[in-house]
Subunit: 216 residues, 2 copies
């Protein structure tokens, strides 16, 4: 596991994002920026999707956290290449951090590169990392009003994944309301419902991501 | 309900925080800055505490949100004075926003002023609002590793409230681990466990907040 102290890597983000995207395209690496609140289930979803995709794609992960290597250790224990970015207080990843992390990976051997952003439903919205797909997570336990309350991030989503649907029976979360708010805000975004714990919806999401990564 | 567009109110935060604190002290208004992730249960906890405290304290609320007046409407429907701050994308409240919001309240008639910050476990940590107490929420559904992963905000907490403990049976959240991490990081912080939905722990927290607001 490589660890990068990223606070000093601040340059013009968009230029670096473009360069990252060109680099990922050149190496045939499909890159997914995974964003959502702290505790919405980002790492757990990644684990379930990588398990499901198994030999169908060669994955790697860039983990963004303020501090700690907890998530990177979870990924590494599965034998998957991982680079940890510790932002040292910065509230989101940026393209320079991702470029530095990509230097620590053998991109030619990686089909699917997951970038797990810092848990933050606000600041992550403004920073293109050079990804091909932005996957935004909303968990049932957060409540169905979050799309209206944090519109910027949802508006920029290519995919909305509603996680922890196994908690629906204990919740007053209104799926119809959330999906309707999302369709209003981001009409082109795909919407999936999953429970990583119970396996629900993982097949469908994994298959769709794989097809999408192949340009289908 | 008053609505303030706050994006342009950026000045030296600490000076304004000091002025806010002097002003709140002069009017006998005890002020609590409530922070936590999106969907951790900030508004629901406030509703439960204000219901419990009933005639024992005159409350008011300052609501911070990127957009919408959803939370302010919930508070206003209870007949409680509320000022909505819409940050228009800013990821945390600051002291100038709170000063502007306080202008819309009759502080002399308010014993307990709740400031519900933007849902954000990172950026809210750096901004003193002039409060007397900082209450940080961690919900069971977010997972027990968040204190280690987002240390800055927890280190600055006067009180940690662990919410949604009714979800413990469906969760692998380790309360002992969370409390031990918190005691390591912020030894002086009080820790409460509550379920606003089931009423568990609300009496104890409300009584403690009232006594603390009286300087006991």
């Amino acid at each position: 596991m490589k660890i990068i102290a990223a606070k000093k890597l601040l340059k013009a983000n968009d230029k670096y994002a473009r360069e990252n995207r060109e680099r990922f395209t050149a190496s045939g690496t499909y890159t997914i920026n995974v964003v959502g609140s702290p505790g919405c289930g980002k790492t757990t979803l990644l684990e379930a999707l990588m398990e499901n995709l198994g030999g169908r794609a060669s994955p790697a992960v860039i983990e963004g956290d303020l501090a700690s290597t907890i998530d990177a250790q979870r990924i590494e224990s599965r034998g998957i290449p991982v680079v940890q970015i510790n932002t040292e207080g910065a509230c989101h990843l940026d393209a320079t951090m991702v470029a530095a992390a990509a230097d620590g990976l053998d991109l030619d051997g990686i089909d699917l590169l997951w970038i797990e952003n810092v848990g933050n439903l606000v600041c992550t919205a403004g920073f293109d990392l050079g990804e091909q797909l932005r996957l935004v997570i909303l968990s049932i336990s957060e409540g169905d009003d979050k799309i209206v309350k944090y519109p910027t991030i949802f508006q920029k989503a290519d995919v909305l994944v509603i996680t922890k649907v196994d908690l629906l029976p204990q919740s007053d979360f209104n799926l119809q309301r959330a999906e309707s708010d999302m369709k209003h805000l981001a009409p082109k975004a795909k919407i999936f419902q999953v429970s990583a714990r119970q396996g629900q919806g993982i097949d469908e999401l994994a298959d769709w991501l794989l097809r999408t990564s192949h340009g289908e």
